[in-house]
């Protein structure tokens, strides 16, 4: 019933690699703590809050000030630890702060609903005093959680799925229901926890929430053994997956990350609100090129995502469209258990009804996805290869007889993505990683040839195995030319195959190009730097699409 208990929970979850074990630990936690603290625990564990009350830098400065510690020393420690909240926690240990005063056992609710939010209303001086006081009165084992919540960096290896499972076990109710209850906003309160563990399933209560999204798996060879007629084919758009919900006349637009984004796309909400029926649609939001009837690049969509109440001119400059691919609920009736092919018929039927209303032209902002009809699997492959031409990422393949269940259940939806583009590039800079990669050089920059010069074209940090990371880290330390803070420039010697999804002109980069999702796919130890690709090769790739 306290920060102390939650700190223990964190240690238990953090030091277990077994899913069953974690579920058991969570279940026991929920059983032995009161509803309000449980709701806060869920709030933290599901990552629904990552509000930063103060920055890591501020925390470090404050520590330096109070305990007369040189800042450079804290920075050196940071390089080893990779997390400001943890550095300060470890340094506090050295100060024996908590042994001086009577220890407090604050409840999670009080800490999160009162103490910490109150900080933002204080002057720096009062704030510092308050934090210092917390450091000195909280037990040592609670410092990490406290500092992490302050800096908005609380994270632990627990997925929403795991929370869902443990609550489902706790009250013996189907995971799908719990998962649905956990969708959308979660405001920590006794009520929100009681609702979560209510044994009576009342579907009305779920009205304000989107359904758990059905996710696609990467395609497997075995599917090609099936008849092509068993599947429905769609383009895989590169936008934001969303559920467009209209219930009791109210429209809500939910992202897969469970954010309500009505304010960012008011023109869509407005148009939809005039439709007479109630419904839940699964689909994709895109910035749309109406002239050519294809999607604009994702980068244009980014201009809309984080902008609330966009002006009229922004709405015109970046015109959006919602492309529906599934109908999940119609006029209050949940139809997720109906076969996909029949849901599609319903979707088409209702869409044509809505479209034919002359007083509300929806076609400039809303459509249903076109289907593709490959005649056999080789034909499907041809479609996939063509997907770059219409700015899609490949195909989505859905089993016609499937129902709409939540999560990444296998064998229902498949994604068949177009192969990534690849270039061989030379490693020229490395930077220390943070978090789990602290103390290792794990952020890399790569260059391509331009005449006799190597020009940086992309940065990547994923794709190497842990063993390769360690090996490369050793090499980096031995082959550094110069250090600039955390960055090292390196002897050009190592060649890597870099894969990426998209390539486009960029004025901001010296290379003149920008790539999307760059990642390392191979350490080309067989190649010398003269074998690496040139910028010209990159331009060639751009012409092809």
């Amino acid at each position: 019933m306290s920060l102390k208990k939650f700190s223990e929970l964190f240690v238990d979850l953090d030091s277990s690699n077994s899913t069953n074990n974690k579920i058991e630990v969570l279940k026991n936690y929920f059983l032995s703590n009161d509803p309000i603290d449980n709701s806060w625990a869920i709030y933290l564990l599901t990552g629904k809050s990552n509000k930063r009350f103060i920055s890591g830098r501020y925390l470090k400065n404050l520590f330096s000030q109070i305990y007369e510690y040189p800042e450079w020393l804290i920075d050196t420690c940071y390089l080893k630890v990779g997390d400001s909240a943890e550095v300060i926690t470890l340094l506090l240990k050295n100060k024996n702060t908590s042994r001086k005063k009577k220890l407090s056992n604050i409840s999670l609710n009080e800490l999160l609903s009162k103490t910490i939010p109150a900080l933002s209303k204080l002057s720096d001086k009062e704030k510092n005093f308050k934090i210092k006081n917390m450091w000195e009165t909280l037990p040592e084992d609670n410092h990490l959680i406290f500092n992490k919540i302050l800096t908005g960096t609380f994270r632990v290896g627990v997925s929403i799925g795991l929370i869902t499972k443990s609550i489902s076990k706790l009250i013996n109710i189907d995971e799908e229901i719990i998962s649905h209850r956990l969708m959308g906003n979660f405001e920590p309160s006794i009520d929100s926890y009681e609702f979560l563990i209510d044994k009576n399933i009342n579907l009305q209560e779920l009205n304000s929430k989107p359904f758990p999204f059905l996710l696609a798996n990467t395609i497997e060879d075995k599917i090609f053994k099936n008849s092509i007629n068993d599947f429905q084919f769609e383009w895989k758009y590169d936008g934001i997956r969303m559920q467009l919900i209209k219930r009791l006349g109210n429209v809500s637009l939910w992202t897969r990350g469970q954010e309500l984004v009505n304010e960012s796309f008011p023109e869509l909400v407005e148009k939809i609100s005039h439709i007479k029926d109630d419904f839940v649609l699964d689909g994709e939001l895109l910035v749309w090129n109406f002239k050519e009837q294809i999607a604009f690049d994702f980068s244009l969509l980014q201009k809309r995502i984080n902008r609330k109440s966009p002006s009229r001119s922004i709405q015109i400059k970046y015109p959006i469209i919602f492309i529906a691919y599934d109908l999940l609920e119609i006029n209050g009736k949940d139809i997720r258990e109906i076969k996909l092919e029949n849901r599609r018929i319903e979707l088409e039927k209702y869409f044509s009804k809505w479209q034919n209303k002359t007083d509300n032209n929806i076609s400039d902002i809303f459509k249903i996805c076109d289907l593709i009809f490959p005649k056999d699997w080789p034909d499907a492959l041809t479609y996939k290869e063509k997907s770059r031409e219409n700015n899609t990422e490949g195909l989505i393949i859905k089993k016609k007889t499937s129902t709409y269940s939540s999560g990444r259940k296998k064998g229902i939806w498949w994604k068949y993505k177009v192969d990534p583009m690849q270039l061989d590039a030379v490693l020229i800079y490395a930077k220390g990683g943070s978090g789990r990669r602290a103390g290792l050089y794990t952020d890399y920059s790569f260059a391509l040839w331009k005449d006799q010069e190597l020009i940086k074209f992309a940065s990547a940090y994923s794709g190497l195995t842990n063993i390769e990371i360690k090996e490369l880290d050793k090499w980096i330390r031995k082959n550094t030319i110069e250090k600039f803070g955390p960055v090292r420039s390196l002897k050009p010697e190592m060649v890597f195959e870099i894969s990426f999804e998209k390539i486009q002109i960029s004025k901001r980069h010296k290379s003149g190009i920008a790539v999307r999702f760059p990642r390392i796919t191979k350490w080309r130890k067989d190649k010398k730097i003269k074998d690496a690709d040139s910028l010209e090769n990159a331009y060639e790739l751009m012409k092809k699409i």
């Binding site: 690699n17 050196t76 080893k80 103390g439 842990n466």
Partner: protein, 325 residues
């Protein structure tokens, strides 16, 4: 660490060397005369003509090396002379037999700490404060983020870790020499009363410690024929080299942990691949190093083995000690 040609002790080819006496300290390759601070292999090179060490270190080395090596042994504090240089071994608290080495020549005192710790450890002699003019100290954990908990607190946590999972076999990885014996000693004082097994490499050292008069609780040598059911709820000590690879397939339903000072950092703990980490070290933490520097009254300090930059700068700025870098 940078030393000068005329220094009594200096760095040469990656090892510490005392030229006037022509002796090397923990050399990394065969030399004529090697002074050995303790019996860990990273401080020992095969093929030297003669070795000097404490009695305990000699016995541990002979047990581990199984070679007929020529070791001259000395008691702690017993002084001997080579080319007029007075040399003596002093307890360093790292493991059984571990020592600091002091050199005195023409009124000038030099002290090499070897690996050391200040924390209480019943399996070896406590660190002895030795006054010196020049100090050469290790600094494996030379950052203020390292602050060791009381050993008994860690032992209680280990006991809890085992008893909280009665259906599992708990594998605790630790260095065979020193750490394992210290852990056994501490765990025997907790309320964990289950079975304890050791890997043969650890069992061997346990017996050696016992012969040298250190009381270590009896453990059973783990063998492949141990039944899985019998291992439920028990503790098994293993060397870290066995943590990767097929050895673990001998067991079912296990949880693993590593006992090492590095485990105090979450990123390292996560990367290590063990389920759990217990931060316990046979090296000094930041405060320990500062304390030794202070109590030695050294006017000149050198650091090696670790992150010396931050520690050096700190001492120069805060304590006005001459750190030679």
């Amino acid at each position: 660490m940078r030393t000068k040609e005329e220094d009594l002790i200096r760095y040469k080819d990656g090892s510490l060397y005392c030229e006037p006496a022509d002796v090397w300290i923990d050399p990394n390759r065969p030399v004529k005369t090697a002074l050995i601070t303790h019996a860990h292999f990273d401080h020992f090179a095969f093929g030297c003509n003669e070795y000097f060490s404490t009695k305990e270190t000699a016995i541990l080395l002979r047990e581990r090396v199984r070679d007929n090596i020529n070791i001259k042994t000395f008691d702690y504090g017993e002084e001997f002379k080579i080319n007029g240089i007075r040399i003596s071994f002093h307890p360093s608290g790292h493991i059984l037999g571990s020592s600091q080495i002091r050199f005195i020549f023409a009124e000038e005192k030099w002290l090499i700490t070897g690996d050391f710790k200040l924390q209480k450890d019943e399996t070896c002699k406590e660190y002895e404060v030795v006054k010196t003019d020049y100090l050469i100290s290790e600094c494996t954990f030379g950052l203020p983020i390292f602050k060791w908990d009381e050993t008994n607190k860690i032992a209680v946590n280990i006991a809890k870790w085992i008893t909280n999972s009665p259906d599992k076999t708990s594998l605790l990885f630790c260095y065979s020499l020193g750490k394992a014996q210290r852990l056994l000693n501490e765990i025997s004082k907790t309320n964990f009363k289950g079975n304890i097994y050791s890997h043969s490499s650890i069992e061997k050292i346990n017996n050696c410690y016992k012969k040298l008069g250190i009381s270590i609780i009896n453990t059973t040598k783990i063998e492949n024929k141990n039944k899985i059911d019998e291992l439920k709820g028990s503790l098994i000590l293993l060397p870290p080299s066995l943590s990767k690879g097929s050895y673990l397939k001998n067991f079912k339903n296990i949880q693993t942990a590593f006992a090492s000072g590095w485990m105090s950092i979450r990123a390292l703990r996560k990367r290590s691949g063990y389920d759990k980490g217990f931060p316990i070290s046979d090296h000094a933490d930041w405060d320990g190093i500062l304390e030794v520097v202070k109590k030695s009254e050294a006017k000149n300090v050198f650091f090696h083995h670790g992150d010396s930059e931050a520690l050096s700068q700190f001492l120069v700025e805060k304590e006005s000690i001459n750190v030679l870098r």
